[in-house]
């Protein structure tokens, strides 16, 4: 006698597969936004399952800020090769060179906000009508209000006060020319769910997530990796520590935690005991109380 209910990870998986197939059925030209972080890796893994035995029918799209961890780029290229899918790269450096955007100034300047223009340019020039992302509602308060199928107007903007209601499993992806959608198949997953699932499925992730020795600088209470893009203050000192990253963004803004967790099992245990939120080490979210909401309105991931 078998049981006729799913455990929570299987139910989340089934829901995500349903969303991915729905995107494929409702849109002409969808892409997966692939950053090389664990959430976009998870979405790609779920897409592999959703369309098996066929190949993933979407290209991967990467917004390259130029401020990458070299490990992330290598990982991205390996994934593309293994899956045999197309890779579309939108380059922030090119946008800067073309004068479309200007580098931020000041001490904590990053290219985080600049990505928005490049992302929207890449969506427009590739005629993408749905960009699938790894955003999760538990990440941040503005994301808690996000729909599975999230409408963007012809400027790529999100209007959180005028979202389409989403009921049952009936998703409305209808849009006018020039508008697009963002789809979030793992909306209902938490950070812990993601790690439990990665562990269960033994999904390959970049080495940066595992504890490793690295040159770092203490800044705002977190360990920022030393890189060619980092401008050191006189009082700052580069040290070598054993750290791991809990999320991956640009190398300039992603802080690591000291850790000994060098296997998926150890990471899952460590995450279960974490006392701070995942994005707590992301200086892009610390800028103001509504930093994420403001960027999302403009078209951010």
């Amino acid at each position: 006698m078998s049981k006729y209910y799913l455990n929570y990870l299987d139910e989340l998986e089934s829901e995500a597969i349903f969303i991915l197939r729905e995107v494929w059925a409702q849109f002409q030209n969808p892409v997966i936004l692939f950053s090389g972080g664990k959430d976009s890796i998870l979405v790609t893994h779920l897409a592999k399952k959703a369309f098996y035995p066929a190949k993933i029918p979407f290209p991967l799209m990467h917004v390259d800020t130029g401020h990458n961890f070299p490990e992330t780029i290598q990982f991205r290229d390996d994934v593309v090769k293994e899956l045999g899918v197309e890779l579309i790269v939108g380059s922030v450096q090119e946008a800067i060179d073309d004068g479309r955007v200007a580098e931020e100034r000041g001490k904590n300047a990053t290219r985080n906000t600049l990505q928005i223009t490049t992302l929207l340019d890449a969506i427009e020039s590739n005629k993408v009508d749905c960009a699938i992302g790894g955003g999760r509602r538990d990440e941040e308060k503005a994301r808690a209000k996000e729909r599975f199928f999230s409408h963007r107007d012809d400027f790529g903007q999100w209007d959180p006060k005028n979202q389409r209601p989403e009921l049952w499993n009936l998703f409305n992806g209808k849009h006018f020319q020039g508008e697009h959608f963002r789809a979030f198949p793992i909306s209902n997953w938490t950070e812990m769910d993601v790690w439990n699932y990665i562990k269960r499925e033994n999904i390959a992730i970049p080495s940066l997530y595992f504890a490793h020795e690295r040159e770092v600088v203490k800044r705002d209470g977190t360990w920022i990796p030393n890189s060619e893009f980092l401008i050191l203050e006189d009082y700052e000192e580069v040290v070598t520590k054993k750290i791991r990253f809990r999320t991956l963004g640009d190398i300039t803004i992603t802080g690591g935690d000291e850790s000994e967790a060098d296997t998926l099992e150890k990471i899952a245990i460590e995450v279960a005991g974490m006392r701070n939120t995942e994005r707590g080490n992301r200086s892009d979210d610390k800028r103001s109380e509504s930093a994420m909401e403001d960027r999302k309105r403009q078209g951010y991931f």
């Binding site: 006729y4 455990n7 829901e15 098996y52 959180p160 979202q163 909401e293």
Partner: protein, 418 residues
């Protein structure tokens, strides 16, 4: 943690600022240790800035900037927490009448509705409305939280009186499983931990009930329904002739060897295989996402439904629906809308408004034929081609529809097939 058999439970909370809804959610998250230190620090500093005494748990549920500024919940927000027994998704919805549509949205996927009652006020108009929405959306379980018991001296008499008031209204609705809990979300009584102030209450605290209630029967496991989402045709060397019907089982169980009918065409065949990325399986039940191959090469595509031949839904172009209007623009009489039902899209027309529910009294209005934002009506709908429908009471997946206005592309209404 051994989470292998842990289920996912979705519950909805409806309430306004004054009911202590945000405090209840904050208390659940806080006492189940689901709140992180940096969130706590942010709440502490905001509590101080606003001049609140101590930690204002309600701030955990703050969302968009406008909501923070106005101190209200406008849209549905989703919160997550996990205990060693279950994973929980809370659809946190506003309670005021002008946000009825958001309550309906949050309720559509919930296993459990929690209804908050202020012990000082008892059952009020809003309570009736929340119970009505829970029954309309056929949420399988209801937990009535009689909150702010600390303000009525933890009186058993007050509690029993409210239970009686609620049962009077719920007996007239389609509500089967109701539980009542006296609590103080502010002090934490009977939320996660048992109250020391109410020895007379023999039941369990709220979290214990959420962790242990039987929910695997919430999904219909009798009527096998498989709406085809898309067709998988890899045309690769290893799978040259593969033709798999991909979808999620809406209800019931499908097994290899089952005699099936594809609706609406009526072609029959036998299930040859049920495939997943992990390999072939013998049976699939709701809500599993799988790919099905058939013995015969028949035509089936998105919008069709595979069902067991001896248990079919009704194929109909005329349906009666309880409709909740969600849009600012009122319904246009005899206008055409796109109707979405499982993976099927058709054109539809609202032929007749049979009656409208007075959302204040819950009585019927027969002479008002306007259908505007937040209105709930019983209507007759005619579609251009048949839909394969079950009644919503029996099947929440194949019994639900939405209407889309093709001049704006917005989702304008949600409906439950009678």
């Amino acid at each position: 943690m051994a989470l292998d058999n842990n289920q996912l439970l979705r519950f909805t909370t409806a309430g306004s600022v004054d009911d202590g809804k945000s405090t209840l959610i904050g208390r659940l998250l806080y006492d189940s240790k689901s709140i992180f230190e940096d969130q706590l620090a942010a709440i502490e500093s905001t509590s101080k800035k606003k001049g609140h005494d101590g930690l204002d748990l309600a701030l955990f549920t703050d969302g968009l900037r406008d909501e923070r500024e106005q101190g209200i919940t406008i849209d549905v927000a989703y919160r997550y927490f996990t205990t060693p027994k279950r994973k929980f998704i809370i659809a946190d919805t506003p309670g005021h009448i002008q946000y009825t549509r958001n309550m309906v949205t949050g309720a559509s996927t919930a296993n459990v509705a929690t209804i908050l009652i202020d012990a000082r006020h008892g059952v009020i108009e809003q309570t009736k409305r929340h119970a009505f929405i829970a029954s309309l959306l056929q949420i399988p379980h209801i937990i009535v939280c009689v909150n702010k018991m600390d303000l009525v001296d933890f009186s058993e008499k007050v509690f029993n009186n409210i239970v009686r008031q609620f049962e009077e209204i719920s007996s007239k609705m389609l509500i089967t499983d109701v539980r009542f809990i006296p609590m103080s979300a502010l002090l934490g009584d009977n939320v996660v931990n048992r109250s020391k102030n109410m020895d007379w209450y023999q039941g369990a605290p709220m979290l214990h009930i959420l962790e242990t209630m039987h929910i695997s029967s919430d999904i219909n496991k009798v009527d096998a329904r498989f709406p085809v989402q898309t067709v998988l045709r890899p045309q690769s060397d290893t799978h040259r002739d593969y033709r798999g019907y991909a979808g999620r089982v809406a209800s019931g169980v499908l097994r290899v060897g089952d005699e099936i009918t594809v609706m609406p065409s009526g072609f029959t065949s036998i299930i040859k295989s049920i495939d997943t990325f992990e390999g072939e399986i013998k049976e699939a039940f709701a809500p599993m996402s799988v790919s099905i191959t058939l013995e015969d090469d028949i035509d089936a595509s998105r919008g069709d439904m595979i069902v067991r031949s001896n248990n079919k839904p009704e194929a109909s172009q005329d349906i009666e629906v309880m409709l909740c209007w969600l849009n600012n623009n009122p319904a246009k009489p005899r206008a055409k809308y796109i109707i979405k039902h499982t993976s099927n899209n058709q054109t539809a027309m609202i032929k007749e408004i049979i009656y409208k529910i007075d959302i204040h009294t819950l009585g019927r209005i027969n002479d008002d034929k306007e259908l505007g934002m937040n209105d709930i009506c019983k209507v007759k709908i005619r579609t251009t081609k048949p839909l394969m429908v079950d009644s919503y009471r029996e099947n929440r997946v194949t019994g639900s529809i939405i209407l889309v206005d093709d001049t704006t592309n917005e989702t304008v209404a949600a409906g439950m097939i009678v």
